[in-house]
């Protein structure tokens, strides 16, 4: 069977599993309501921060792909309490630092100013700021590179490869 036909058949027969039966959800406590670790203001700051880490260019920026929700959800569900507290606190400190240096909140800075600020804080060795920014950076990269956009357009994920060739020329 050709791959395209196969895909068509699969979609037809199986559809896409979007809702799980209750027993499959038995393991998770968070549902679909989204993370609620951060305040509205902190959510805004996180959104600006992930866009500073991966900005919109001719391709989507991090917040276009909802990476800020991913970062908050991961910290909320998969990290210890101190890390959870650090996320909100780190964002507030970032905003304060923007006030100190530019007399304006982080969100109102120009994108170049945001980037300079983040880079200079992240470069401070062994600082709380650096630890915070680098962990947000790692989660942002994870969220971005595991997004539908990235896996479809860049890494070209195949659900059904239907083949394995052990030795092919690169570029062929």
């Amino acid at each position: 069977m050709h791959r395209r036909e196969l895909l068509k058949t699969l979609t037809g027969i199986f559809g896409m599993a979007v809702t799980l039966p209750s027993w499959a959800n038995g393991w998770t406590s968070t549902g679909l309501s989204g993370p609620d670790l951060l305040s509205k203001e902190q959510k805004r700051l996180l959104s600006d921060l992930v866009d500073t880490i991966l900005p919109k260019t001719d391709t989507p920026g991090a917040s276009d792909l909802g990476v800020q929700h991913f970062v908050e959800l991961m910290v909320q569900d998969c990290f210890e309490k101190p890390v959870q507290e650090q996320l909100g606190a780190g964002l507030v400190r970032l905003d304060k630092e923007a006030q100190n240096r530019f007399g304006r909140g982080f969100s109102t800075l120009q994108s170049g100013q945001k980037l300079d600020l983040v880079k200079s804080l992240a470069g401070k060795k062994d600082s709380e700021e650096s630890a915070f920014l680098n962990s947000v950076r790692n989660l942002t990269i994870q969220g971005y590179t595991s997004s539908e956009y990235f896996m479809t357009n860049v890494t070209k994920y195949e659900l059904i490869p239907a083949r394995y060739h052990g030795c092919v020329d690169i570029g062929s």
Binding site: T57, Y144, V168
Partner: protein, 581 residues
């Protein structure tokens, strides 16, 4: 008999009396071996009740995550911290993740006592762990069956490779096993569908090792339970060719790999001779002292906790190695005060497993103009080369190993902002990576055992098991030797950046626990005879991992399947002769 019972009908509990709860055979457990027992019995016309302690899982319908894309898992497969904290045991399993967690048992669902640390990984649902297995299906060789006799440990196997070989063939043809005919007496060929391909670096390593060790060490493609070319028997099961999705643990809508759910159980149901009863936790096997045989099985309803007895002439225990021990130990009568068939006091003892502690990784800087394309649900395999035909080292037995290579493809993750974004979007080829892990044979010992706790009970009121299984000096020596030998082989092949590890994982995480109800020639030193039949209770058969006299190095499921089919065939013949009533 039992014409009043239809295969799809729920048996209402305690309402229809003994007759409606009576079958010709009962199989306890619907995993990889129980599925085979049920299929063989039902196919041969035996009215069979298949008991499963967990919920039903129907092929395709109950694979809720099977077609989900990676980005649809909200934590990208990572389990939330709350869950890993509440479930420290199952969380260690490599396959326990968002897409497959629903096929695993939570730690508190079925507690046990760890006299020594033991990670007991379980799957309570129709199909059991056959939904989750690694699908490697290497045959044992005569050197494996002859091991205990030659090296003087455990007891002699009551069967030889030649006894089992036709049954390997029988189950291989039905299950669908892919493999290459390598012609090795140390790892016999089977009824193979076309093999997967070794990639350039795996092939290179294979050639180098053959040359460097004068053809005494082999790197071959694994034999695995994937349909690489569907035969009529597979199509008849409604199964199709494997599509190389390599997300098998979610359940496969193609039936591309073998599970009880996609294969043996629906096949058995089609005969009209099988009744599948889920949510049925087996408490014990009932022994009738006057009749001198087992007469049935006592079951607790997983939801109502109501207790019901089911009756049959023949009982197959396929509850998974450790749970089979538990059921037999809990089957107490005045004839068998220490567990069913346990006249010699050895029930629960001589438990063994596979040693997966050590691994090695490295890189190869050749074949830089080559890569792989697609995915492969399989890897390379190194059959045991230590002490195979004679004793060569200061430890007994040896290890097999997995071996795999792949081309690193990565992106530049440095910088911030547009620089970072550009780096992430540019995929570059790195070196090839190579890796291997050991699969060591452990020696069954009386001091590695499972036993009932005298006080603690599980949520069903059944005694908890105390598990006492640990590594010994032989295992330590084997880890050391594996790391030395593999390092030498990697170095000689020109691999670089070689790193070795010994993760000191606890026994159990290999999920290859075996023994406790071992086969043997002598009723004084074993529990089962050469037909997997209890010496002291001939109408009870044990054909899962509990029956294993020794462990060899091969992934064990194929051998359980062969034992189950062979034993069911024998049981039916005995029933026809009137020997099992």
């Amino acid at each position: 008999m039992n014409n009043d019972i239809h295969q799809f009908e729920n048996i209402s509990i305690n309402s229809r009396g003994k007759k409606s709860n009576t079958f010709e055979a009962i199989v306890i457990g619907s995993g990889i071996s129980g599925g085979w027992s049920a299929k063989e019995l039902a196919e041969k016309g035996v009215k069979t009740l298949l008991l499963e302690r967990g919920r039903n899982v129907e092929h395709i319908k109950d694979y809720p995550t099977t077609n989900m894309m990676p980005w649809e898992f909200e934590h990208r497969e990572k389990m939330p911290l709350e869950i890993t904290k509440e479930n420290p045991i199952v969380s260690k399993c490599y396959n326990f993740k968002e897409s497959s967690a629903h096929f695993f048992v939570k730690d508190n669902e079925h507690p046990y006592v760890q006299e020594k640390p033991f990670d007991w990984i379980r799957g309570y649902q129709v199909g059991g762990k056959s939904l989750l297995w690694a699908r490697q299906t290497q045959r044992w060789s005569k050197y494996d069956f002859d091991g205990p006799a030659r090296d003087g440990f455990a007891v002699e196997w009551p069967v030889s490779y030649d006894d089992i070989a036709p049954w390997y063939s029988y189950v291989e043809r039905f299950a669908g096993i892919s493999g290459n005919k390598d012609g090795l007496d140390i790892l016999p060929d089977g009824e193979f569908l076309p093999p997967h391909e070794l990639n350039c670096v795996e092939k290179y390593f294979s050639d180098q090792v053959a040359r460097l060790y004068n053809g005494t060490r082999h790197i071959i493609i694994g034999r695995c339970a994937h349909i690489t070319e569907a035969q009529p028997i597979h199509l008849e099961q409604g199964r199709a060719k494997c599509q190389h999705r390599v997300i098998c643990e979610r359940g496969c809508p193609f039936g591309g790999y073998f599970t009880s759910v996609s294969s043996t159980i629906p096949w058995a149901l089609k005969t009209g001779n099988l009744t599948l009863k889920t949510d049925s936790v087996v408490h014990s096997i009932i022994y009738d002292e006057k009749k001198g045989k087992a007469t049935g099985v006592r079951v607790i309803d997983a939801h109502t906790r109501e207790m019901t007895d089911y009756y049959a002439k023949v009982i197959f225990v396929n509850a998974s190695a450790i749970n089979t021990n538990l059921i037999l130990l809990n089957s107490i009568s005045s004839r068998f005060p220490n567990g069913l068939g346990n006249d010699n006091g050895l029930l629960g003892k001589y438990v063994a497993f596979h040693n997966y502690r050590a691994g090695i990784s490295g890189q190869y800087e050749g074949f830089l103009d080559k890569t792989t394309d697609g995915k492969r649900p399989n890897s390379g395999y190194i059959p045991r080369f230590r002490n195979v035909k004679k004793q060569e080292t200061d430890f007994l037995r040896g290890y097999a190993a997995g071996f795999g290579a792949g081309r690193n493809v990565g992106n530049d993750r440095s910088g911030w902002g547009e620089d970072l974004k550009k780096g992430l979007g540019t995929m570059r080829y790195g070196n090839w990576h190579v890796g291997s892990h050991m699969m060591g044979e452990t020696i069954p010992k009386e001091s590695n055992y499972v036993a009932l706790d005298k006080v603690l009970k599980d949520p069903f009121g059944i005694p908890q098991l105390r598990i006492h299984v640990e590594y010994d000096d032989n295992d330590e020596k084997m880890v050391k030797d594996y790391l030395e030998q593999m390092t030498e082989m990697f170095e000689k092949a020109g691999f670089t950046n070689i790193r070795t590890r010994d993760d000191h994982r606890y026994p159990g995480l290999d999920i290859h626990e075996m023994g406790g109800v071992r086969m043997g020639k002598d009723p004084k030193t074993s529990l089962l005879n050469k037909w997997n039949q209890m010496h002291a209770v001939p109408n009870v058969f044990v054909t899962d991992g509990a029956c294993m006299t020794s462990t060899a190095t091969q992934n064990p499921s194929l051998t359980y399947m062969a034992f189950s089919a062979r034993s069911a065939d024998y049981a039916v013949k005995e029933m026809k002769k009137g020997n099992l009533r």
